[in-house]
Point group: C2
Chain length 127, copies 2
């Protein structure tokens, strides 16, 4: 009993609060397993892309229509470079697509799913 099962990271002095899940390996009833590390990492990275104000403002514009980098920079009153860096992050997360037209690059949201998520949270915070 009270085995901590190689709980390496825990405090030096093992404590005893076995409310309902003392030994995860005892095939008890309420088997609740946390999200796996890898998936938690991926999911965190996804939310992290949405955690920057500049990127959210870009998304708010692209939710309306397509824009080239320069216009985005003008509307947000930031340098082309800063915008380009952030668009790079949005591209890496596959949240935006783009098409080249001459020397301009027009960005748009990759799919409706992003817009839905954005609007859902936007409304949720309007309280």
């Amino acid at each position: 009993m009270f085995k901590r099962v190689s709980n390496v990271a825990n405090s030096p002095t093992d404590k005893i609060c076995e409310t309902k899940c003392s030994d995860p390996h005892s095939g008890a009833a309420g088997q609740v397993v946390p999200l796996a590390m890898g998936k938690a990492q991926k999911m965190g990275e996804f939310f992290n892309v949405l955690s920057d104000p500049t990127r959210l403002r870009l998304i708010s514009l692209l939710a309306e229509e397509e824009f080239c980098v320069c216009d985005l920079a003008i509307q947000l009153e930031m340098t082309d470079s800063a915008i380009s860096h952030q668009l790079r992050a949005l591209r890496a997360a596959r949240l935006v697509s783009y098409r080249k037209l001459g020397r301009q690059v027009f960005y748009r949201l990759h799919d409706q799913h992003v817009v839905d998520l954005y609007r859902t949270v936007h409304e949720h915070l309007e309280e």
Copy 2:
């Protein structure tokens, strides 16, 4: 024409790419306004809380049932302190509620909305 309207932050040498939004103040047709700075900040903070793997794993557990701090620490194989710090962040964001029972504190998700958002994104990343 070509007024940049106090575009202080932009590059030193003003450039000229007036695709469709040169002067936001000219009451033109496609009036697209970015998300306000303040709201973008708030929204970013919200997503930021969900951008940490540990907090997401906590949410994944609390989506199933109520847990005390110690049990959460055991399941995630982390120190009570680390968990407590993260629960503090989740509390500040009003994502979790808690009730004290003796010397234990049981946490639960504040409302179903969080669970919905978590599950939506979770499924979205399962591709």
